[in-house]
Symmetry: C2
Subunit: 307 residues, 2 copies
């Protein structure tokens, strides 16, 4: 195989009470990447979109991932990549992870799948390091595997797939900028022990609810007493959106990644669409531009479209 075309999905990291340990893949939005194998150690990148992302390999998320693969392959290969990005950078929907994971999986296919899932996650984390300064896997891992994944530990890497129920996801991306570094800086280094206990009660409830497909338990457990109260200040309209979405029937939800996107889970499509309507009304009233998505949990991860 010399050429491949893949779809790399958006992802929601954190999942409310699962800060830094949970992530979930979405059917939409997704990026398209075409990757071609070269026989010299070079990375050529073309961005087929309007986001103005860098095309120098060292400065591009997909680029650094591919460079690390080329290095592992003893500089005997290279890649040419065309990226059609549909997940907006800075949306909180795992835009950099889609590039990083997509690049790693596409390259692995072109190399006859010589790398394990764990190796691909390690390669892809180089892209996250470039994008946010931190090697984290809570977007990359669900992007690669689909569904919901638990990153129990980063050192050593311990990733567990959590059975994902057939839920609908509504997302609103208000068009404001929240820098991941700011969103991280705002968090306190110390937290109250009693808040931590409440949080791990909720994470235990959420995991149980997801595995047992218990929608009410999922809803009750989608509570974050530590990060959300601090970070939601950066997202205009957050409290109103959350309250009204739950009144409209959403099981619950919260900030996607470090924001500004907000996601809500619903049992069925009609509720998910009613939730979308509520989100639109709030941001129309506030006067902030936005995108919305009504989608489902993606159970496949990065997919080969052709090649």
């Amino acid at each position: 195989m010399q050429k491949i075309k893949i779809k790399s999905p958006a992802t929601v990291a954190n999942l409310v009470c699962g800060f830094d340990i949970l992530g979930m893949a979405l059917n939409e939005p997704y990026d398209i990447m075409q990757v071609q194998l070269l026989n010299e150690p070079n990375v050529i990148i073309r961005n087929n979109d309007y986001f103005g992302l860098p095309e120098e390999a060292e400065k591009n998320v997909a680029g650094v991932v591919l460079l690390s693969i080329i290095e592992r392959m003893k500089n005997e290969i290279g890649f040419e990549v065309e990226i059609t990005k549909q997940i907006k950078p800075g949306s909180g929907l795992g835009s950099s992870a889609a590039s990083a994971a997509g690049a790693a999986i596409a390259a692995n296919h072109l190399l006859d799948n010589i790398f394990s899932n764990e190796e691909m996650i390690q390669f892809a984390m180089n892209g996250e390091k470039l994008a946010s300064g931190v090697k984290h896997a809570d977007n990359i891992s669900p992007c690669i595997s689909g569904g919901i994944t638990l990153i129990r530990s980063i050192h050593p890497l311990d990733i567990i797939s959590i059975p994902a129920p057939d839920l609908y996801v509504t997302v609103v991306h208000p068009q404001i900028e929240v820098k991941t570094s700011d969103a991280r800086q705002i968090l306190k280094k110390q937290i109250l022990f009693k808040d931590a206990i409440r949080q791990w009660g909720n994470i235990a409830g959420l995991i149980t609810g997801l595995i047992k497909n218990d929608h009410d338990l999922i809803g009750r457990s989608l509570e974050d007493v530590i990060i959300e109260p601090v970070r939601s200040i950066l997202i205009p309209g957050f409290d109103e959106v959350k309250k009204k979405c739950k009144e409209a029937g959403a099981l619950g939800g919260g900030i996607s990644g470090s924001g500004p996107s907000v996601f809500m889970l619903s049992k069925d499509e009609s509720t998910a669409k009613a939730v979308e309507q509520v989100m639109k009304e709030v941001y129309n009233k506030i006067g902030i531009d936005y995108n919305t998505y009504v989608t489902r949990i993606n159970k496949r991860g990065v997919e080969v479209v052709s090649g």
Copy 2:
């Protein structure tokens, strides 16, 4: 029914990374309680053991539970109770919870089961309040229901039963005193955010491992970076016991409740017995008296023996 005899099991609260939210019932040890219905508002208690626990109803764990039930029944009934306690008070094996939950369940049987599980937990928590000053349910709940239970929240009470794998449990109770109040006092009010994240990664892993019956995942997740490093100082030999038990094949384990008992989970009986041998060797060497138990996770909770 006028008279009933029940077995009320020992319980392990916390389960390492599940501080204040998880509890597990054991087949052994257990208390025996005989409870008789009276037709006047009185509680008569006889202790059929050598622990010297108070027999005045207001000062006795089972007594205050029964008093709260009598009050709810508009003072039209009373109870006579004989308690044969085999779970040593102060062992960290839920001795007070066994009295409290046993009293609530026995009374409920004698009253034709008019109270729900949740109401019985509420009654029984009065006993825990007397014993430790805090209304907590992490021993009571598995004592009543058996298996492993998650207390997602105390206010409002939200208890979820977690499927318990068929594991063996080895317990050592070194005969030293650790007061629950001291064990609680020693904990810090603030903890590092990064430690909390690691802890909720582990609790998520443990819940997944328990539900999926994944023994390796259970073992990897039985890690507590917050409470154990502080509390284990109160338990002589703890680090050595833990290290050697794992070398002997235990999946993992830690402090039972607030100690001093230490528990270890194993896949099979022969490993559980090898683990017991290791515990004996350590405490023989240190020169502290001890009891050990090799038992299993109890899946039934409080049981009626006759009545």
